[in-house]
Structure formats: structure tokens, C-alpha cells
């Protein structure tokens, strides 16, 4: 270790419950009959379908293209026929539907032709990023931000450190742990490419000290790559939420990411080991992102473990494969017990951001009728972002969103530590999520109102202009009429005059 580790404020020591799902190696989920692929499995604009119903698709074939900058492509996870393109229920806390592509699998699992790159250093960083984008790779830690953007240092930044976030601090989840144990080499392939694309000078692999097997596996893999001398493993103490990006950066480097700034602003880029693995597969093997490792665990799962699962696989199939004691339509949690959200519905698919499916949780108190806040301050003590949850709660409850923003609501990472310690059982994070979406909605409405004002004003201006033009035309027509009348009158008068003249002449 090069520098002594720092610490972030607050946090909790939680029971890990990780052994449950690390007893068996990563297994493959059997192929489902039907795969449902939401067009939006990432942050940004939804992908646009480029196949039609009835089309035959091959494994790895692109079925939707990226739309706009912040977007990635989507691929068929196996060979089959596109059976539907339309609304389908998606794993989202709202329980709403979104556009999806449904594929009936044919069981042959036939690959499309893959373009492998043996020496990625022959390519420019820009080309590599384009391949990563076309491969549909997003952050597999849970947020799903398009990875190619986070691999672009841009002109204004220099990236010093690539941080691989192998902390996996949330209880029950073990997909990164297992991936590091079994596919350390593949992860390092991705790390090399990421270092190259970012022009970063060093890489830190941060792993919590409750994963000795993963640490050993990565360490062993590193011995085979002497050219990765700038890469080191940093063992961080097990504490929740060390795996939060800003928290991990603080632990490893001692630096704080300022409010409203990104890690890249202090020269750090953070990626998940799963993302690194996916990048390696995409560049060196030409495989787009079509599957991920999902932890299926919980007290109601007798055969818990980690499963390499194709996207679009119905979560129900996965749970059936693990022989869970879950009843049909009984809710389960996607994500961990602290930050996950409960979902219901048997036809929801596995998506790129599904790291864990949790059925049955120990030692998290069932929701109880909340009691009044006694302002004990426990929530502020455990908050890893140094916020004042009791104040945020107060203002969220009063719907005083202006004040919640003044108290830096958007720095809240929704880790749930405050919920966990609250003696009054107040669902604090639910209040913060509520406030955040209300504020975002207000901003959307304000934008819409501004647009409407602009359009109304330009309409009024247009009507005014048209009126003036009409008046102008009328005036001109009148003027023209008057002129022609005058001309006629003049003509008449001259002819009269002429005749008078001739009469006069005759007289003379």
C-alpha cells in the first residue's frame, strides 16, 4: 500500500451475509423461452430498435442503436426471432411499462460473426470507445451510466487514477466478488484497455478485506502481467457504504469529490470490475454486453449463488432455477437490502443494472408505523455524505423543496444508513427519494412553462406582424386605388381642357 488509508464520515458495520451465495462457482442460467429487452437499460436516451417483428436475430446482433450522445446500443442475447416490439413491464420501482423488444429464443445460441482485436494498442482511444459504445457497455455496479463516456478524459481533464471499485459493501451481494475470484484475468484485460483509453498513470483495485479469495485471485493474476506495474491492490476495511463512489475515493485517496462535481474533476475515474470485464470481452473477443453475473440470494433461497444470466431472462425463471420458496407474485428486492427496491410481477426481465435478486432478508426490521422524530441525531452521525437527514426529513415532509436543496439533498446517495439507525423507524430515504423526484418534476414543468411562454410570445408577435402586414396591404391597395382614380380624373380633366382649347381655338 502506497499511502495510508483515509476514512469517510459515518457509515455502518453490517453483517455481510455473503457466504450464502459464494459456496458455488458462477453458474450459467438456462436459456429461457422468451427474452424481454427494455430499450432503456442505461442512464440517458433510450435505444432505437433497428429490427422488426418477425426478424431472425443472431446472438450478439445489434437490435437497437444508440440515440444521441448519452446512450448505448442493445444486442440480442441469443439467437431467435423478434416476436414483439412494444410496451412491457420493466423492473422499475414505479411498476410501469416501457418499450421493450421481445425475442423468442430458438435454443441454438448461434453467434454473429465476432470481430476480435488482438492488439488494442494499434487502435486509437476514440476507436476503442466507439467499440465499447457499440457493444452496449454501461456501468454494471447498478447505476448504468454509459461506460464510453467515463472512459473519455476529454480535453479539460487529466486522469491520474483509474479506480476499480471492488468494495461491494452492501450485504448479500457477491457478484463482483465471484467475478474477481474466477475471472481476474478478464478483469485485468479490461483494466489495461481502460488505462489506455483514459491515458491514466495508475490503477487502484480497491477490495474490501472481507474478500480474501478475490484479493488473492487478483494478486495472482497481476503476477502474470509485469507490465501492469502501475496497478496496485488496495485492501479497504469492510464498512458500509465504502462502495459508494465518492466514499471509496475518500477512503483510498483521502480526497473529497466536491458537491456538484464528478470524480474526473479531481483526476479520478471509477469503474466496476464487471464493467472492466465487459470491456475486455468487447475489445479482445468482440462480444457485446449480453449477459451479466447476478447474485440470487436471501433467506428464502435454498440454492443461493451467482448466475451468469442473459439480459431479458425473466427473473421468475432465475428464481425457479434457484428453487426459491417465493410464492407467485410475491415481491422481491432488486439490489441489496439497503439500497434496493422491491419489485412485484413474474414477467420482469433481468437488465444490465440488475446485480442482485434478494428474496427474504434477515435483520432488517420490517416496516413499522413511524414515530415522531426525536432529533437524536443518530442519522447525522451515520450519514456518509455529512448531511443532516433530520433537517432534510423535516423540509421534505413540509414539501419545502427549496430548503432541502439548501441542505444539499442531491448529495444524498440513498445508502439507507439513516433509515437503519433511526429509533423512530422513519423511512428517511423514502422521503429523500420523494423530494428528489418532486424537485426534478418541478424543473421539468418549469422548462415546459418557459417553452410555452416563448411559443405564446412568438405567436403573439406573429399575429401582430400579420395584422400589420394586412393593414399595410390595405393601405397600399387604397393608395393604389386613390392613385388610379386621381389619374383617371386627371385624364378626364386634360381631355376636357383639350376640347376646351380646341373650342377656344375654333372661336379664335
Amino acid at each position: 500500500m502506497s499511502a495510508p488509508l483515509s476514512n469517510f464520515p459515518g457509515g455502518l458495520k453490517l453483517r455481510g451475509h455473503k457466504k450464502r451465495s459464494t459456496q458455488q462457482p458462477i453458474r450459467k442460467t438456462p436459456l429461457s423461452k422468451q427474452l424481454v429487452l427494455p430499450l432503456q437499460q442505461h442512464i440517458g436516451a433510450a435505444a432505437v430498435p433497428i429490427v422488426e417483428v418477425g426478424d431472425n436475430v443472431l446472438k450478439g446482433q445489434r437490435i437497437a442503436r444508440a440515440e444521441g450522445h448519452v446512450s448505448v446500443c442493445l444486442h440480442a442475447p441469443t439467437s431467435g426471432v423478434v416476436s414483439a416490439i412494444g410496451e412491457h413491464a420493466i423492473p422499475h420501482p414505479s411498476g410501469l411499462s416501457a418499450p421493450c423488444i421481445t425475442i423468442e429464443t430458438d435454443g441454438e445460441d448461434r453467434w454473429i460473426e465476432r470481430e476480435q482485436i488482438a492488439d488494442f494498442r494499434q487502435h486509437s482511444a476514440h476507436e476503442l470507445r466507439q467499440i465499447i459504445r457499440d457493444a452496449g457497455i454501461v456501468g454494471l455496479g447498478g447505476a448504468g451510466f454509459p461506460s464510453f463516456i467515463k472512459l473519455n478524459p476529454g480535453v479539460h481533464h487529466t486522469v491520474e487514477t483509474l479506480l476499480i471499485n471492488g468494495a461491494e459493501c452492501e450485504p448479500y451481494i457477491t457478484c463482483d466478488d465471484m467475478l474477481m475470484r474466477e475471472r481476474a484475468d478478464g478483469i485485468l484485460d479490461g483494466v489495461e484497455i481502460m488505462l489506455f483509453a483514459l491515458r491514466a498513470s495508475r490503477c487502484i483495485l480497491a477490495i474490501e478485506d472481507n474478500k480474501p479469495e478475490a484479493i488473492a485471485a487478483i494478486r495472482y493474476a497481476l503476477t502474470g502481467r509485469p507490465h501492469l506495474s502501475q496497478t496496485e491492490i488496495v485492501i479497504v476495511p469492510t464498512r458500509y457504504p465504502t462502495g459508494g463512489e465518492k466514499q471509496l475515493i475518500q477512503v483510498v485517496t483521502g480526497k473529497q469529490v466536491p458537491t456538484n462535481k464528478l470524480p474526473i474533476d479531481i483526476g479520478i475515474v471509477c469503474h466496476n470490475p464487471g464493467t472492466a470485464y465487459a470491456v475486455g470481452r468487447a475489445i479482445l473477443h468482440g462480444e457485446p454486453l449480453i449477459s451479466r453475473v447476478v447474485t440470487v440470494t436471501g433467506t428464502d433461497v435454498p440454492h443461493a449463488g451467482n448466475f451468469e444470466t442473459l439480459f431479458g431472462t425473466p427473473i421468475k425463471d432465475l428464481l425457479d432455477f434457484c428453487e426459491t420458496k417465493r410464492q407467485p407474485d410475491e415481491p422481491f428486492i432488486q439490489g441489496g437490502p439497503m439500497m434496493g427496491y422491491s419489485l412485484a410481477g413474474d414477467d420482469l426481465p433481468i437488465t444490465k443494472t440488475a446485480n442482485c435478486i434478494l428474496v427474504g432478508v434477515d435483520d432488517v426490521a420490517p416496516p413499522a408505523q413511524p414515530l415522531p422524530c426525536i432529533r437524536c441525531g443518530d442519522c447525522a452521525d451515520v450519514c456518509p455524505a455529512s448531511l443532516l437527514p433530520q433537517q432534510l426529513y423535516w423540509y421534505s415532509r413540509a414539501k419545502d423543496f427549496e430548503q432541502t436543496r439548501n441542505y444539499n439533498l442531491f448529495d444524498c446517495i440513498e445508502c439507507g444508513c439513516c433509515d437503519y439507525v433511526c429509533p423512530s423507524k422513519i423511512p428517511l430515504v423514502s422521503y429523500f427519494r420523494f423530494s428528489k423526484t418532486e424537485i426534478m418534476n418541478q424543473q421539468r414543468e418549469q422548462q415546459k412553462a418557459d417553452l410555452a411562454r416563448e411559443r405564446h410570445e412568438s405567436r403573439l408577435a406573429r399575429l401582430e406582424r400579420e395584422k400589420q402586414e394586412k393593414e399595410e396591404r390595405q393601405r397600399q391597395r387604397k393608395a393604389a386605388l386613390a392613385a388610379s382614380k386621381a389619374a383617371k380624373a386627371k385624364e378626364e380633366s386634360t381631355t376636357n381642357a383639350e376640347s376646351a382649347d380646341s373650342v377656344n381655338e375654333e372661336k379664335a
Binding site: Q40, I90, H92, P93, S94, L96, A98, P337, M338, M339, G340, Y341, S342, V364, A365, P367, A368, Q369, R397, G416, D419, Y420, P427, V429, S430, Y431, R433, F434, K436, T437, E438, N441, R444, E445, K448, A449, D450, L451, A452, R453, R455, H456, E457, S458, R459, L460
Partner: protein, 186 residues
Amino acid sequence: MLTAIIAITLLALVLGLVLGFASIRFKVEGDPIVDQIDKILPQTQCGQCSFAGCRPYAEAIAAGEVDINRCPPGGETTIQALADLLDVEPKPLDEECGVEKPKTLAVIDEDRCIGCTLCIQACPVDAILGAAKHMHTVIADECTGCELCVEPCPVDCIDMVETQPNPHTWRWPDPSHVDLQRRTGS
């Protein structure tokens, strides 16, 4: 005595110049309070307040001619924001103007549309597209839900449809109103 008079005169001159300069240099264009009120109003341009659009209503409020509770689309939130801005007591919505309704969107039944252009002329934000004797359609993103196009339609082919949330615009429910079963996370 004379020095005092001269001093005061000079002072008056200098300060007069400063004030004169400031009034030109820092001149405020328009009436800022009208702009502030206009910013709070929802810009539906529906005219339910009996004014021809949001801006005229804002001007009337600024002039103290009307109450702040005449905007049904803005509802309670707008009344509260106006009350805060103008430092007056909020009042319940004036029922004469209408009632607060969920957000809606105009949808033209394109099979029945005869292409009369009357709705195009009625739309305050130019959100309807079409030409004479051709089908019309509403640009959904631009529609404010003001309902002004419904009345002029001779074949009654415009419906106001409640806008449905999508995963993007969906909002977490207010936890103080949610029953325990539906609570997520912990």
C-alpha cells in the same frame, strides 16, 4: 455662511450627478415584479383567469387589480408561491375560474378531423399542426392542456387525455401518505 451654502450646493450637484448617472446606467427594463409573477404562473395560456393569457394576468396582479387565486392549472402550489412572492395571505382557488385538475393533453381523433383549422387558430402556443382540408395533429411536447381547442372544433374530435407518467417522469410517492405494505427498500 457662504462656505456652507457653497458646500451644500456642490454636494447637491455631485450627488445629483451620481443619481442621474445611476438612473441611466442601472435602468431596469420593464417591470421586474410582473416578470417574477409571470414566471410562477404555469403558462398554460388557458384564459380561465379571465385574462388573455398568463402575462396579462401577471400584469393585473402586479397592479393590484385582481386576486392571486384565479389560476386553476397552477392550483394551490401557484397560489402559495404567489403569496410568498407578494407577501400576502394565500387564499383557496376561486371556484368561479374552475377547479384544479390533473394535467391533460389534447388528442385529435384523426379519423374524424375534417381539417377546418379552427383549433389551429385557437391554440395559444401553436402546438397544433395541419393545413386546410388536411388532418391536424397535436405536438404532444408543446401542448399545455389549456382546452382552448376543444370548444371551436365543429366535429368534436378533440379529447383531453390525462397525461400518464412513464418511468422517466414517475415520482416516488409521498411517504407520509403511503401505506406500509407498499413501502420499498427497508
